[in-house]
Symmetry: C2
Subunit: 350 residues, 2 copies
């Protein structure tokens, strides 16, 4: 592998691939001139696009893949039939040490199944988790996990998610000591599921080196009360999609309001620069790039509906994590957790 | 009980009680001149307020209660020490047939404990559920339950929630046949928890008379894909608070944007009527009034932070339900469910 950072990219994943992939690479190279790419996919289509983006072309190696995995393919099918696809090959490049990270906007279930099969989970991690970023009132972002990799998680797994999410937040935001809490229905110690209370006890008893703040509620996510919000994949998936749906509804109503009359249109035109900044601030593309944490390799998932700048955000997440020590930090804290469990803390924490 | 509709009101519950209670009653009487109220609480304070609202005074009977239940009181304490409080007495008026419904903006846990203790659950209902309304893109609202009465629910309980939520939506919106779905992480039949899949099978097999549409995801809540979204109280509480937090964040960023420069302020001033309508459309007060469904009596919970118009919305929900047949409709569908269970459908769905 070359000295420079190499990202392996699924050229065919996403609603508007390969166009958004090549455009995203072009933007990413402008921001980080040293970055290199391997693009896996349809050589003719991607090759033609690269002619239009010379900066992207100069930074990329095009690796032909004979087919693409569709959005309707089930994870089990992807494992049986996925070999040779752009997604499979993009993941394999990380496994074989030819790239530092893989990025795809394709089929989430297929991606996760192939990544788990090829890369396996890190020692000490029971199940990987999907971590996403969410805009917070303080101007930064909150890391939330799991947002859909597993429908359930016991106390120990929630502690693993906390450890992984904390390292992710530090790698991307640069915060030295991100604060972490478990998502619950109330701040009191007695509320919520058994799993959550057991996780809170375990993270405190095990001497895990994170700034653990106990419980937060759903409205704390957007407030940015803590930097990392930990929950199981069922609750996390529903919470993040509910938040996305709400933001979309408010945006739609705002657009309707500002086009509802001549006066409203005039006001909106005068306030345009401020509204454009607001739009940018709330643009889901700025927060694009979820990460499958807990694998022996860096696996970044772009939203399927991302545009070029959104895909570039996902590439930037991959680059930041690839140049950080997030995996060593996770391993250190997982070792503390294992040691505490061996000493019987986990048992007493139930 | 008089011929007219009588609402029993906890005069002391909520952050700004009793002021918002009396103001809310005044607004509600303007909308529904026949409505009558029993206000339980501090006779001096409420009496003085009623002097300022003659319309509310003419419609109300003031019933002195020696104390109020604070927001910090735990449900178990409320049961031991709550007797004689405004909340306790307001609930008792429904139990004793002196009022058609009770409305309070007070301590949720205490309210629920006292209501369950005094009114008991309806025959065929395992646990009551808290149902709330949420604005939808189509201009109406979605009913969501459970939003926090129970942290868990099995398949059978989820079907009971579906039955109760459907009747609630019909009573308040007037829709003849509201559509209902279970909240899940994917629309496929194989996804999600065992409880949800078992509920989907049971509701279909049991011949329950509702328009059941299967599964929806978090972003379907704001879209208004269905009229009633059913989930357990843990997920529902987190989803609704995440949505509230997101709406608040977008609102805050919009206010910041529209005051960020002189031009932005000018534009906002010109577009003011449209922005004011948007604000009204998203005002949480318009959707205020959650209901504890499944009790032998109508119990409506106002947000603790509601203002006068918001409290009036909760009173309107109580009035609409009190003049509907929601309880008979629930009983009919519960009977279908029990009959199917007796015939062994529940076991095979188990």
């Amino acid at each position: 592998m070359a000295d420079s950072l190499v990202l392996s990219v699924d050229g065919m994943g996403g609603d508007s691939a390969p166009d958004i992939v090549v455009e995203g690479i072009d933007i990413a190279v402008r921001e980080r001139p040293g970055l290199r790419f391997q693009i896996h996919g349809d050589a003719d289509r991607i090759g033609a696009l690269l002619e239009r983006f010379p900066r992207a072309k100069a930074a990329s190696e095009l690796v032909a893949a004979e087919r693409a995995i569709g959005m309707e393919i089930k994870p089990s099918q992807a494992l049986r039939q996925g070999k040779g696809s752009s997604l499979w090959n993009a993941v394999a490049a990380v496994e074989e040490g030819r790239a530092h990270a893989v990025v795809s906007a394709g089929n989430t279930g297929a991606y996760m199944a192939i990544a788990m099969f090829r890369l396996r989970t890190m020692a000490g991690v029971h199940r990987p988790a999907l971590a996403a970023r969410w805009p917070a009132a303080n101007g930064g972002f909150v890391v939330m996990l799991d947002v859909g990799a597993n429908v359930q998680a016991d106390g120990e797994q929630l502690v693993e998610f906390a450890i992984m999410g904390e390292a992710f937040q530090r790698a991307v935001s640069g915060k030295a000591k991100p604060s972490v809490a478990l998502l619950n229905v109330g701040a009191e110690d007695l509320k919520g599921h058994e799993e959550i209370r057991s996780a809170a006890k375990l993270v405190r008893d095990a001497g895990v080196d994170i700034d653990f703040q106990g419980f937060v509620e759903g409205d704390d996510i957007s407030k940015g009360t803590v930097d990392v919000v930990v929950t199981d994949g069922f609750t996390g998936n529903i919470a993040i999609k509910t938040g996305e749906g709400t933001a979309r509804l408010v945006g739609q109503l705002l657009r309707e309001a500002l086009t509802s009359s001549l006066m409203a249109k005039l006001g909106a035109a005068i306030a345009y620069p401020a509204l454009a900044r607001l739009r940018k601030r709330m643009d889901p593309g700025s927060f694009n790039g979820a990460v499958f944490l807990g694998l022996n390799g860096l696996v970044v998932k772009s939203h399927g509906s991302a545009n070029g700048p959104g895909f570039a955000s996902a590439l930037e997440v991959a680059a930041k994590l690839a140049t950080s020590h997030y995996r060593e930090e996770i391993a250190d804290n997982l070792a503390r957790l294992s040691a505490a469990e061996a000493a019987g803390v986990a048992q007493s924490a139930g």
